[in-house]
Each structure stands twice: as structure tokens, then as C-alpha cells.
């Protein structure tokens, strides 16, 4: 029994010393290499486990879709023949759009390359902090890449990549208290800093102390954000915190648009796609076009135009002269 105690003490000393060393020097090269090595050994368990689980879970759905696909195939073949004309038109419009953009000296949208990934692992103890996805260095994911998630037909801000391994990556969620993103409120031009609180809600600080704030406002990423593309929905204002007379700013509580517990697929906006990967379409936030007539005269009409590529708060006021041959109804 004494021999066992002695061995146990030695093993405890060695393992505890190693653990404390890992905890104390998280950024040193040996510790990072050790972490990468452990990840390399153990990540395939979850990676292949998730792939296997999906294969089994999706089997009935796959069989149903296979039968459906056969029926749709004939239908789509016929539509494809008709679609040739549409494709030609779109290509012509795309070229025209690019030419007009150049003529107007307008900047093209960010050319980040999106990659979809599955949520592979999440730890209930750190529910609002981080999760692991099944895309890593092999798919061109890099440190700091912004991560978006689908919600009600649009993409919303989720977090950023903080650790990249060969086949997997760790995503730090916006709700983590170490996360922050520059953002603005949709009701005005107020900018602030959205920060995580290790809970279901976010907090937006540094809002102008004199401004009137109201619950229900949408919060979008700011063009000044170092991580996220501009105008990506972060969430909605849930509560305006009471003003603190000792602070020079106001703050609000935000319900994040991305629900950490229901995320299944995420989009990573990579700086560059790996060579050989087909080029995906450029990501542009989808905002329905709005055209509001504001004044009409016999020969000209002023309209407020908001297009799908325009910023939601930056509606371009444009006076468009519509000439009519007869000077009557346009």
C-alpha cells in the first residue's frame, strides 16, 4: 500500500506540474505545439464521429431525397434549357454593373471567400464561450477569420476563429466576455462596442450619453470593425440600461441574433480560399431594395433609393431626373 502511495504521489506531482506549466505559458511555442499535437491526435475522434453520426442520422432523408431527385431531375433538365437565356442576361448585366461601378469609382464589396462548416463540438460548461467546427487549415481557415451563422434566411454575426488545427478550428463566440465588436444601432448613426458577458445576452457600451435609446433597435457590425464585414446583424436591443451619472456613456443589453444552442452550420469568411477550390460568389448582405418617392414635379422626380448593396443606415439620397418625351406621366 505504501509503495502505491509513493507512486501515486510521484505521478500526481509530475502531472500537476505539467498541467500548471500548460496553464502558465499558454502562448509559448512548446505549449502551443503540445496543444496542436494533442489536437492532432484527438480531434479525429469528434471529426469522424460527427461525419459518421450525420451519415447514419441522414440515411432516411437521403433515401427520400434520392427518389425525389429522380423526379426533379427530368423537370430541371427542361428548366435548364430555358435557363440558358437567363444566364446570358445575368452575365451581360454583371459585366455592365462592373463597368458602371468602375465609372462611378465605387469600391467593390469585400472579396472574402466563404466556407461552410458544421458545429462539431460544444462544451455545456462553456456554452456561451466557444465551439469547435469541422473546417481548419486544410480549408484555408486562418486566425481571426469572422464567423457568421444563418438565422431566418439571413447571415448574422457569431464570432471569430481563435485556434486553427489541420481539420478543425475553435470559434470564440460573441457572447464570450473576451469578445468585442464595433457596432451601430439601426435607428440612428450611434456607434458603440458590443461585448460578451459569458451569458445569453451581449452588452453595447460607449453609446452617446445624450442620445435617446429604445428597445427593439437592430444592431449591426460597423464598417470600423476590424473583424467583421460591415452591416451584419448582431442582434436586437432588449433593454436600455439606466443612465449612470458617473459614466460619460450609456449602455444597452442585446439579444444576439445567433442562438449559441441552435447553431448547426456556420460560415467562415476566409481571407483567401485554398488553391484549386472553385471560386464561390461574393458575400453581400441581402437587403431588399426600397424606392420611396419624396417629391414629384411635372418633369423630375426625387426618389430615395436603398439598393441591396447599400448600407441599411446609409440610404443614398439621389435626385433622379426622369425625362419624358411628352413631359407628362413618366
Amino acid at each position: 500500500m505504501q509503495r502505491e502511495t509513493r507512486i501515486a504521489n510521484v505521478v500526481l506531482g509530475a502531472l500537476a506540474a505539467l498541467s500548471l506549466l500548460l496553464l502558465s505559458l499558454p502562448l509559448s511555442t512548446p505549449v502551443r505545439s503540445f496543444k496542436a499535437g494533442v489536437g492532432y491526435l484527438l480531434d479525429p475522434l469528434a471529426y469522424h464521429g460527427e461525419a459518421g453520426y450525420r451519415r447514419v442520422a441522414d440515411s432516411p432523408e437521403r433515401i427520400r431525397r434520392l427518389l425525389q431527385a429522380d423526379m426533379e431531375n427530368d423537370q430541371l433538365r427542361a428548366e435548364l434549357r430555358r435557363g440558358e437565356w437567363v444566364k446570358t442576361t445575368v452575365e451581360a448585366l454583371s459585366l455592365e454593373n462592373e463597368r458602371l461601378r468602375r465609372a462611378l469609382v465605387l469600391k467593390s464589396p469585400s472579396s472574402r471567400s466563404p466556407a461552410w462548416a458544421h458545429v462539431m463540438e460544444r462544451d455545456p460548461i462553456h456554452w456561451y464561450r466557444s465551439l469547435v467546427v469541422d473546417a481548419g487549415g486544410d480549408r484555408g481557415v486562418a486566425l481571426g477569420d469572422p464567423v457568421l451563422g444563418p438565422r431566418d434566411g439571413q447571415l448574422v454575426a457569431v464570432g471569430r476563429v481563435v485556434d486553427v488545427r489541420p481539420m478543425t478550428s475553435t470559434v470564440l463566440l460573441l457572447t464570450d466576455e473576451l469578445s468585442a465588436a464595433a457596432a451601430y444601432l439601426s435607428s440612428g448613426t450611434l456607434e458603440g462596442l458590443v461585448q460578451g458577458q459569458d451569458g445569453p445576452r451581449l452588452r453595447m457600451n460607449y453609446l452617446n450619453a445624450e442620445s435617446a435609446l429604445s428597445a427593439g433597435d437592430s444592431v449591426y457590425t460597423s464598417p470600423t470593425s476590424a473583424t467583421f464585414p460591415p452591416d451584419v446583424l448582431i442582434g436586437r436591443v432588449a433593454k436600455v440600461n439606466p443612465r449612470d451619472q458617473f459614466l460619460t456613456f450609456q449602455s444597452v443589453e442585446i439579444d444576439p441574433a445567433a442562438d449559441a444552442s441552435s447553431l448547426q452550420e456556420l460560415m467562415i469568411l476566409r481571407a483567401k480560399a485554398p488553391e484549386g477550390e472553385p471560386k464561390p460568389p461574393v458575400y453581400v448582405p441581402v437587403i431588399p431594395p426600397v424606392v420611396v418617392p419624396v417629391s414629384v414635379s411635372s418633369h423630375t422626380a426625387a426618389v430615395e433609393i436603398s439598393t441591396s448593396t447599400a448600407r441599411p443606415r446609409r440610404r443614398a439620397m439621389a435626385a433622379v431626373a426622369i425625362s419624358t418625351a411628352a413631359g407628362g406621366k413618366p
Binding site: L15, S19, L23, I125
Partner: protein
């Protein structure tokens, strides 16, 4: 040889089970900590050395998935195995009741240790949340009881 293969299967099987449950069955942020429960069970049945080695390996697996505090779970599971190995001389951890009660208490101790390590190394007390704090100890006690029944169905513990 068969014992080694069985141990290896248990080691990887437990990690797979933890990942599978966490990812697909964790509701309201609460899920049983299979790896903690099994670490305690191994330490109680096979001694603290084997428990610490398994706990350290499982802890590293838990730590790899996290953004910060790499090494915290490894340290906590190693300590849990050591304490369970020491305690088994005073308490009969072969019986289900004491084993479940020890696991229950170790779960809270683990949460506290996690928070204190966070406070020490990242200046932030990592709270597991009320739901985990209240539900997880019961789930862990249930898991360790079930695992001890499966461990040796003939009663030769």
C-alpha cells in the same frame, strides 16, 4: 493484452460518448460529465495511478476544445483521481451510495476549481451557470452508479 485493449477502448469510447452527448443531447447547458465520473470510478476500483493517467488524458481532450485555460481540466481530473484514490482507504467506494455521494461532491469541487483556475490565470471566474451547477452533480452521480453496475455485473468489484 486483452486488458490493455479493453482499457484503450474505454479511454476512446468515453471521449466519444462525452463528445456525442455534449453535442447532441445537452439541454439547457447541462450534460453529465462522463469523463469525471469514470475517472473517479477507475481511481476507486483500480487505484489512483491509473485514474490519474486516464483523467489527465481525458482532461487534455476537454481542454483542446477550449479557447483558454489549456491544462485546467487535465489538472482537475488528475486531482479528482488522486483524492478518490486516497479517500477509498477511509470510505468504501465499492458501494454505490458512497461512490455516488463522492462524485456528487467532486462535481461541485471541480466547478469551484475551474472557477479559481480561471480567476488565477485569466482574471475571470468561470461560472458554469445555475443549470449546470444544480443538474450536473445529479447526472454525474447517476452516471457513476450506472457505470459501477456495468463495471462488473457479477458483483466481483
Amino acid at each position: 493484452m486483452i486488458g490493455f485493449a479493453r482499457g484503450l477502448a474505454l479511454f476512446f469510447g468515453a471521449m466519444f460518448l462525452q463528445w456525442w452527448w455534449n453535442t447532441h443531447f445537452a439541454y439547457w447547458g447541462a450534460a453529465p460529465q462522463f469523463l469525471l465520473a469514470l475517472t473517479i470510478l477507475i481511481a476507486a476500483r483500480r487505484g489512483p495511478v491509473l485514474g490519474m493517467l486516464a483523467g489527465f488524458g481525458w482532461g487534455l481532450y476537454l481542454d483542446v476544445a477550449r479557447a483558454e485555460l489549456f491544462g485546467a481540466s487535465a489538472l482537475i481530473l488528475t486531482l479528482a483521481a488522486y483524492v478518490a484514490g486516497v479517500v477509498r482507504r477511509q470510505i468504501d467506494l465499492r458501494a454505490m451510495g458512497p461512490l455516488a455521494a463522492t462524485t456528487f461532491l467532486f462535481t461541485w469541487a471541480g466547478f469551484l476549481a475551474q472557477g479559481l483556475l480561471g480567476l488565477t490565470f485569466t482574471k475571470s471566474f468561470e461560472s458554469p451557470g445555475w443549470m449546470s451547477l444544480l443538474l450536473t452533480p445529479f447526472l454525474n452521480a447517476l452516471v457513476v452508479t450506472a457505470a459501477s453496475v456495468i463495471w462488473d455485473p457479477r458483483g466481483d468489484r
